[in-house]
Symmetry: C2
């Protein structure tokens, strides 16, 4: 079942790279980003192409966490921190974070 | 399995409403938007809360299509066109469309 389970957080980041489309540097960046999936708590990890012309982004990363605690642990994990500091900040030219949760019961 | 199947398109729209948070008008808009799920070809339809402070949006709609043909049919469906013209344009103050597809085999 693909719909987001109650209590989970779906964390998405849409982004554009400094590297030319189809370049080895682009492939290497995406492969390295893929290693984030090994961080404990990361569920349903995906790296996707962004295909709408209505925004400036070219890729997306999507993942889910069971709860806010798991999400915080991911954000603080050394592998994630290192990836952001050593790769993301230098090679991503534009990005947008969008996080989703199931609506609260009304 | 939640990961996007090859060939599918995940269509997402993050948005903010003119209506006050928690208002009946907000609830009614979201309920009406939910009716889009009945349009043929719409898969994995979700209405979600947006919870990251790093963007201006407050809700998200997410859905998947088996292929571009199904997506085009949705865009052109009278119920979708009517919803956009009669409700979306009047009641949504800000929005962003982001569509995802599985990376092409390299």
């Amino acid at each position: 079942m693909s719909r987001l389970a109650a209590g989970r957080i779906r964390h998405t980041v849409s982004f554009t790279l400094a590297h030319p489309e189809g370049s080895p540097a682009e492939s290497e960046f995406l492969a390295t980003a893929g290693a984030l999936s090994a961080i404990p708590g990361v569920l349903e990890f995906e790296i996707l192409r962004e295909t709408s012309p209505k925004n400036p982004y070219r890729f997306g990363i999507s993942m889910e966490f069971a709860d806010r605690t798991a999400y915080d642990a991911y954000n603080e994990h050394p592998d994630h921190v290192r990836f952001v500091q050593e790769r993301w900040l230098a090679e991503v030219t534009d990005f947008l974070e969008v996080d989703y949760e199931v609506p609260r019961p009304s």
